[in-house]
Amino acid sequence: MTDLAVRTPVKGRSLWGDAWGRLRANRAAVVSAVYLCVMIIACVAGPWISPHGFSTIYQDYVRVPPSFKPYPADDTIEKSLEGAASRARVEIAEWREEGESVVARVTSSKTIDERITRYFDRTSAFENATAESRSPDGMQLTIRAQIERHRFLFGTDNVGRDLLTRTLIAGRVSLAIGLLAGLVAVIIGVLYGATSGFLGGRVDEVMMRIVDILYSLPFIFFVIMLVVFFGRNFVLMFLAVGAVLWLDMARIVRGQTLSIKRQEFVQAADALGVTQSGILRRHIIPNTLGPVVVYMTLLVPQVIILESFLSFLGLGVQEPMSSWGVLIAHGAKNIGTANWLLIFPSFFLTTTLFALNFIGDGLRDALDPKDR
């Protein structure tokens, strides 16, 4: 056999390349992917950037509605002043706004200790209160304080915490659990399904029968039992959530593995003498990857919903941590009086779920276009 001059080979267009092209053309999926990235960045970086801490309590601003205009609104300044004054046991004779400060003249029947400025500092509305001038008899004090401006774009909750920051930080928890528990579900499902499919025969029958039984039971009851009785352990939550949702993944992987095993290219590999691990590596796994990836993106929203569900019932994430489910639970209890508590977290949760679903659908269409 003569040695041929090997010309530079032509580049091929793999199935992955095809799929990528189709995915990029899918507008809904691309938009969703961008949205998801923005959401992740917002939830991760947002709480650091935000002027509010997620557990900082503003006593004066309990349950204030969302607003672009900063607080304190004009009508609340007076209330805050009076509140501070009454705690300091003085009275406000007059006050006026001067730019970003407020100047108030307080009176009392007794001499006023200059340290009452502390009472003004402690309110959420004022800071750096100083005593400007004093009447000779000490019963009048002019206090100058800077107005502390706070914006609560999403309003505040029942305790007085900024809802925007809390929503973002809750997002960290929800998304993290979504991805991590989703990963757990995927790993369990893939291992189980691949083993069942690869081994085949009796083992496969038994393993799948178990899945069938579990699939038609409201598994959630067992999860709740576990979570309640074994304590509110964060790790346990991951496992419990993952443990409920691996069933579909197992089925899909097993189905794929079985159908690939039957394909003639696997038999050809057998005829070549390829080892079992070689067949797994080169033939089975690359061909199963597609559906696994697709399903994972559809799994993550299910995980997030499940975690939110548990949190909603009070069985999930505990204070001071929060997740979207917890926030929504609070919001649900306050409809009619503080609707923003429900609407903002619901919006975040729902749009994230939509985005994940569109990406999942897009991936499915991209990897197997006739599978509509």
Partner: protein
């Protein structure tokens, strides 16, 4: 007979599809006609548009397809009718039967239900009258125990029987024209012959016109009065059958006729050693069973078969579906568990486990039927071809492997610079070449070819056959050539084994088997395959054994 008035006249028919890649033309400007009692065959390879043309006439195009032109049935332009109006003609005056008998019947209704439905729909008969008529029809299409069969479900019938039921449904209302779209392609060759005989008979009795779409020239020669040859959507030639076969005008027609496999294989020289041997091979499968279920059925796929392959020889294994020929080949290669003795080059393979078998694998290779399914979709052609080297010559560097892959591809006459392409970027014939390259790169002694050309067009088949011959000469290969296509076997093999239901029915020298078959089954097979004849008075034994038992 030609000369009678035309029932259907097709003029300037074009069929187009709106696809994501633009408008695709399936049929271009077709013109032909059919008269009463006339059989017109429409011949072409896959993609020629022959099916789409008749689907357009019947108004059965997919949603994204549309037809232009004229399809005149007794003065009515079928293409201009609404679906409602078409429904008065379809099933009554013009009917169509399709290629896939296994899926063309509704699995959820009984035969009786499905058969009476078109009768009731188109004729004003009562349920009882329709029932009787249905039984008549089942008798007409030679389904035994018609009355009991009315209560059967499709899954209880074999492919051939389902096709008969389909035919019964089609002729139930005495149509003027029957369109048959490759009705026998999916059936075994002996059943094919019976169905063809049935159609001919029915045509004579009912005086229908028959349009027969096929790619099989043997069938055309047997039953057609006139032929239309199609290529890439156009009718390139048409005329009386005799004329077309004896003096074809168009180059494409000539090419089709010449694509019949030819040549003969000389037997290997006396004294050449036996390379692969099987003694009393048995392969069984058990179906069903499991907890709380009826006990499993034992299926003997290969029953006591012995075979002996010598160096340089090609043994052809023929048989119909279910004969066990593929199973036998895989058992010999130890791809399936089996009982019996298997020897390669004198060495006993029975006790070898997977690891022990590995070094021997390079000597025993296999090429499958489906060129797409047998290539791993996510590997490049080069990787597919060189995978064997990873196992058997692991010391080779990647560059060496690449070079060997290129060499192998060149040897199967494929451009080596394409080796970084993926299977879906090649045609069927090219993929089969890749599969062959994969087999021969290891320089094996024995290659099992399991229906290697059955999924290919005639033209491509011819090339592959030539390639296989060249390779055999160049490398002193021994082939086990499995096929249901007797013509190819005749050209490729020097020794033939005929199998049926897992057993060897007859074997011997190719010429002898073809010229003077001894066993009745062999005779039937030869008659059906070579001349399309159904040997008369044979019971439908082939059909019956494959049926599920009648229930209740």
């Amino acid at each position: 007979m030609p000369g009678e008035e035309a029932i259907l006249q097709v003029r300037n028919l074009s069929v187009r599809f709106r696809t994501m890649d633009g408008i695709v033309e399936a049929v271009r400007d077709a013109n032909f006609s059919v008269a009463a009692r006339e059989t017109v065959a429409i011949v072409g390879e896959s993609g020629s548009g022959k099916s789409q043309m008749m689907m357009a006439v019947m108004g059965l195009l997919a949603q994204n397809g549309y037809a232009q032109g004229l399809a005149d049935y007794r003065g009515v332009d079928l293409l201009k009718l609404t679906p409602r109006q078409l429904n008065h003609i379809r099933g009554r005056k013009i009917t169509m039967i399709f290629q896939e008998p296994m899926t063309s019947l509704d699995p959820l209704y009984t035969i009786g239900d499905q058969l009476t439905e078109p009768i009731i729909r188109h004729q004003a008969l009562s349920g009882g009258e329709a029932f009787d008529r249905a039984i008549e029809l089942l008798d007409l299409v030679r389904i035994p125990e018609a009355r009991r069969r009315m209560r059967s479900y499709p899954y209880e019938l074999s492919g051939g029987q389902r096709q008969r039921v389909m035919i019964a449904m089609a002729i139930a209302n005495n149509p003027d024209l029957l369109i048959a779209d490759e009705p026998t392609t999916a059936l075994d060759v002996t059943i094919q012959a019976e169905i063809l005989a049935l159609l001919e008979d029915l045509q004579k009795r009912l005086g229908m016109g028959l349009v027969f779409i096929t790619h099989d020239l043997g069938i055309v020669r047997r039953i057609a009065d006139r032929v239309c040859v199609m290529q890439s959507g156009k009718i390139v030639e048409q005329g009386a059958t005799e004329r077309i076969f004896t003096s074809p005008a168009h180059p494409y027609t000539r090419m089709l006729l010449e694509a019949e496999p030819e040549g003969r294989k000389q037997p290997p020289p006396k004294g050449s050693p036996t390379v692969l041997e099987g003694r009393r091979i048995r392969v069984s499968f058990s179906i069903g069973g499991g907890l709380l279920a009826p006990p499993p059925l034992e299926l003997r796929a290969v029953d006591d078969v012995s075979i002996s392959l010598r160096r340089g020889q090609t043994i052809g294994i023929v048989g119909e579906s279910g004969s066990g020929k593929s199973t036998l080949a895989r058992a010999l290669l130890k791809l399936l568990p089996s009982e019996g003795i298997i020897r390669f080059a004198g060495r006993d393979l029975a006790d070898l486990d997977r690891a022990a078998m590995r070094p021997l694998r390079r000597e025993l290779q296999i090429v499958f039927q489906d060129p797409f399914g047998s290539l791993s979709p996510r590997l490049t052609a080069g990787q597919i071809v060189s995978e064997g080297l990873l196992v058997h010559e692991p010391s080779l560097s990647a560059a060496d492997r690449d070079r060997r892959a290129a060499q192998a591809l060149a040897e199967v006459q494929l451009d080596p610079s394409l080796r970084n392409r993926y299977p879906h970027e090649f045609s069927g014939g090219q993929r089969q070449r890749i599969a062959i390259a994969r087999a021969i790169i290891l320089k094996p002694k024995v290659v099992v070819l399991d229906e290697p050309t059955s999924a290919l067009d005639r033209q491509v088949q011819k090339q592959i056959v030539a390639l296989l011959r060249d390779l055999q000469d160049a490398h002193e290969l021994s082939y086990l050539f499995i096929s249901h296509d007797l013509k190819v076997v005749h050209a490729m093999a020097d020794h033939v084994i005929v199998m049926k239901d897992g057993k060897v029915v007859e074997e011997g020298d190719t010429q002898r088997i073809f010229d003077e078959p001894h066993h009745p089954y062999t005779m039937r097979l030869m008659a059906a395959a070579l001349s399309g004849e159904a040997v008369p008075d044979t019971p439908q034994s082939a059909d019956e054994t494959r049926t599920f038992p009648l229930t209740r």
